[in-house]
Symmetry: D2
Subunit: 334 residues, 4 copies
Amino acid sequence: MTLRFGLIGTGRIGQVHAANIAAADDTELAWIADPFMDGASRVAARFGGTVTADPEELLTSGEVDAVLVASPTPTHIDLIARAVQLGLPVLCEKPIDLDIRRVDALRETVRAADVPVALGFNRRFDPAFASVRARVEAGEIGNLEQLTIISRDPAAPPASYISVSGGIFRDMTIHDFDMARFFLPDIVEVSATGTAAFDAGAREHGDFDTAVVTLRSSSGAIVTIINSRHSAVGYDQRLEAFGARGALSVVNAPTSLVSLSTADAVEAKPPYQDFFLERYAQAYVDELHEFVKLVRGETAASPGFEDGRAALVLADAAQRSATERVAIRVDLRK
Amino acid sequence: MTLRFGLIGTGRIGQVHAANIAAADDTELAWIADPFMDGASRVAARFGGTVTADPEELLTSGEVDAVLVASPTPTHIDLIARAVQLGLPVLCEKPIDLDIRRVDALRETVRAADVPVALGFNRRFDPAFASVRARVEAGEIGNLEQLTIISRDPAAPPASYISVSGGIFRDMTIHDFDMARFFLPDIVEVSATGTAAFDAGAREHGDFDTAVVTLRSSSGAIVTIINSRHSAVGYDQRLEAFGARGALSVVNAPTSLVSLSTADAVEAKPPYQDFFLERYAQAYVDELHEFVKLVRGETAASPGFEDGRAALVLADAAQRSATERVAIRVDLRK
Amino acid sequence: MTLRFGLIGTGRIGQVHAANIAAADDTELAWIADPFMDGASRVAARFGGTVTADPEELLTSGEVDAVLVASPTPTHIDLIARAVQLGLPVLCEKPIDLDIRRVDALRETVRAADVPVALGFNRRFDPAFASVRARVEAGEIGNLEQLTIISRDPAAPPASYISVSGGIFRDMTIHDFDMARFFLPDIVEVSATGTAAFDAGAREHGDFDTAVVTLRSSSGAIVTIINSRHSAVGYDQRLEAFGARGALSVVNAPTSLVSLSTADAVEAKPPYQDFFLERYAQAYVDELHEFVKLVRGETAASPGFEDGRAALVLADAAQRSATERVAIRVDLRK
Amino acid sequence: MTLRFGLIGTGRIGQVHAANIAAADDTELAWIADPFMDGASRVAARFGGTVTADPEELLTSGEVDAVLVASPTPTHIDLIARAVQLGLPVLCEKPIDLDIRRVDALRETVRAADVPVALGFNRRFDPAFASVRARVEAGEIGNLEQLTIISRDPAAPPASYISVSGGIFRDMTIHDFDMARFFLPDIVEVSATGTAAFDAGAREHGDFDTAVVTLRSSSGAIVTIINSRHSAVGYDQRLEAFGARGALSVVNAPTSLVSLSTADAVEAKPPYQDFFLERYAQAYVDELHEFVKLVRGETAASPGFEDGRAALVLADAAQRSATERVAIRVDLRK
């Protein structure tokens, strides 16, 4: 049976979800909500669906089986709460919110409700990362001792964005915190170091553009996250899982199979992909597919509300650690 | 304006074209012909289109603007002839035919007609090969002196197929002959060496499963084609353009960004893609797109009837060379 | 003119220096001191030199122009002091000592004396690291923002060694601290996280076998050092200098140009070199060569006493940080 | 016991052998002959040995146990003949001669004599090629079906050299013919294609600067050799052994572990080594070592007179094939 989706938010990432919902055999774009009606209409023209400016109308239409929340972060909490209240499964883009108190206020409601709530940590669905995780779980490299994540965006966002982003840890590292927890769910300590090495916007708003975070897992493993808000070579997304018997590595995705060799340099390849929409195109497809299975009770694999909350707890701890220059203990099991 | 396609043949490759025609914004699958009506109906159910067992009905329906011929090789000549007669542009899968006399018999008709006829040498549209060719043309490596093509299929076809294939040169190397001519159109000499190193079917039918072909271009460049009917590591499709100032290389497409390092071996990657439908998926899309532009008079880039004929002339010469053990001169400009 | 060397200590690393001194055109192995006379005699038989059990005899022989100290760490301080007193240039293996108070007690003497004292941080002379540093200095990647050092030994030392090693930071990371300062001399803060993930010896002696250290430079750059006492794939020595305009990377040294591709895995290479004597063979040669130039007043490039002290200050800070779970500020300019 | 060497010829390659003979523990440079006495004296000053202008004096000195012939090609035949007559083992640089009739005239003498005669096909001793061959022999990739050798020199020699070189096949491809026979000794057919694509000297003297040779083995395997007299990226020496169960590949030797990534290109490495003295430095050492073992009766692994002859037979066949445009059958077992 086709799952009818209500999509809330038609920005860059909303459009990706719209296309994927329309393309899959077992999903359908039924309703689209966005106060910017032009955006909603454009998406509807392309992929179908009834358009509204008001999410409430979508949620109570009786014509959607699941909700995809891709609207601005400050709206997430209320939309999740309302969807859960109506018994509608939700796939919500990360982060849940920038304020842990607001997240905690919703926590019991979500826990109590018998409705699937999934968080859009799309990188878990990337075929490379998913494969490494499965192979680590299968014991291919023995006990996991170190996880190294290099994650650099192509270019720093405008200062106006920085000012409302919640800072690099809540805005950008949040993905890496979840990736760390994909391998090592029970993180117990966070140490972070940040600088504003190049970006005037970061400096102006007391934010960092360059950061390194070290996490300790209750298993004794150490995670290292290396971040930068810019990368001249393109989107830099690498990972190394280092275990007792070997290592599994994910390199950057090549944009071409072609290399050039001359008297100046050999085997030179073109720069990496520009950004996440290309690098994680397949991950978004697989994420949607997994969410459909979750709604149907066929899997429990999707990252959920608790994962979204845990990533925010780690981001908050990193922010404190980077400011107060101490390691911060956390208890994600509470 | 949408280009209405008539698709003839709904086998493996016909289905790829059907999907691409249905997916593109400016094309539509209007008619589908296949004597195996079940196949045609399945494709129509998925991608639309009126179904018939008889290509003539499709060609004369008045409802198709262009014809895509993906039926068995022996039908190509007649279908091209009829389409051209009706003024319908054709994109025909390779080869035109296995018999150069039949091709030559059609040659004047095609030349005289003012109808675009394109040949499905899809590899020209592969982003990697197309990029190397463009960069060679742009002079990035200076004068092209050597072209090396390694082209190995994953596994030998059944003996029953070998017997009607026309032999390795007409069936498999034909793609590499066209790739050679993509870079160096004016080939003047062909030398070929073949053996049946492993395949009982090839041996039984006097065919080769392993072959090396050397081509000389009128420009003085030498092309080397290295073929095998099997490859334990997967579909092996590499190319090196070697010029006076450097080289441009195409490596095999990785199937994953993951590598494994252990005490036994480091940086070990998963085997290559299985076969051409995956390796050249994008090429088929771009090939269709380019054909649409050709029909609209916006480009002349597609390989055409003369390219299909030239590849067959080279295949025939290779067959003779491999048998008679002499180099064979050819004149493709005649 | 030939520089006559007195070598003190004929263990594993002393033997490397003996061979290099004997092989170079402008150096000569004149005296060899080791209380284990058998070792000294074996070295003398191979590379020449007068043998003694007593370093004092070597130092006061009047037949040596420079001293190479490769004896156990606790002897370094006194040997450096005595050599400097006698006006003899010294190349001393790292570390100067495990106790910063003893190092500081010698500091003024070394500063005041007009005798070259070089520290054996051999990795600075590795052609790959030296090249990256020169290219960074030349501005090839713009302002250096992040330095990532992965440094893993093949296998953990015996528990007996762990107990006298001074701990992972003073024993193993000390090289990485110096490498960090090779690029960014003015480190102002140290954060460290360690665990005993696999080694019973480390656990028993309250040491770590796995550690991550983050350093901040006064320039605003961040250094990440990732350590493990073992590595199934062999000696793991990588570095990435990440700058505003690009990155320079050092990969592990291949032990062979051969790779294997099969149906299981493609491009699989043999494991990395076993350990530092092989990986840094050329570095030891170049280190000696540079020291000779230093003695001759032709360069000031060698790492010296202050570099040895700085590395120990960073190691001490890392130890405190890893224990007390706070970032430690340091002032290397004092 | 130390093997006393007489070295005849002190050019570029003679000096390499002199250094290796002097450096090994079990060999000694006893006599050096070269009509250019200056060269001989310089080598003697560095590595020891008595100097003469006349090889006969060296051969009959009674002070040499083995002879290393590194003099110009036209002198090889007579020197081998005389050494064999005197019962002195010989390691002779390739080729034996450019004229097969002169080689054949010596053949019976060498066969009849009970004196080891080794040919300087140094590439057999390269650790990478030797390892691939050992692994192929061990069955690691199953039956060997194709061998591909890419062999390009950095730059074309002067026209004056071309005129006396015997042509590209006898001068340059000769190494590749022997490499082919290292894997597949019984070559039965040769096809060659050559052009003068860029070098005026080659054109002037009727030689080729660019060539492709195809060999057939009695086992049914096909060898492809791809040659060029120049290569902008440096010395290009690659090999792929392709078998029923996989492939073993040798890539070019990197000159550095460093790669550069910028917005223009990623993972760009420095050009390859300049030429054979660097690329095959270890091979020359191992070749000498193996020859010493041969003299001592401990191995029969070195390529010998028959291998030198076989390579020349293949070169002659290639020359005929490239000229007459036919495949040439050869019988190396006769």
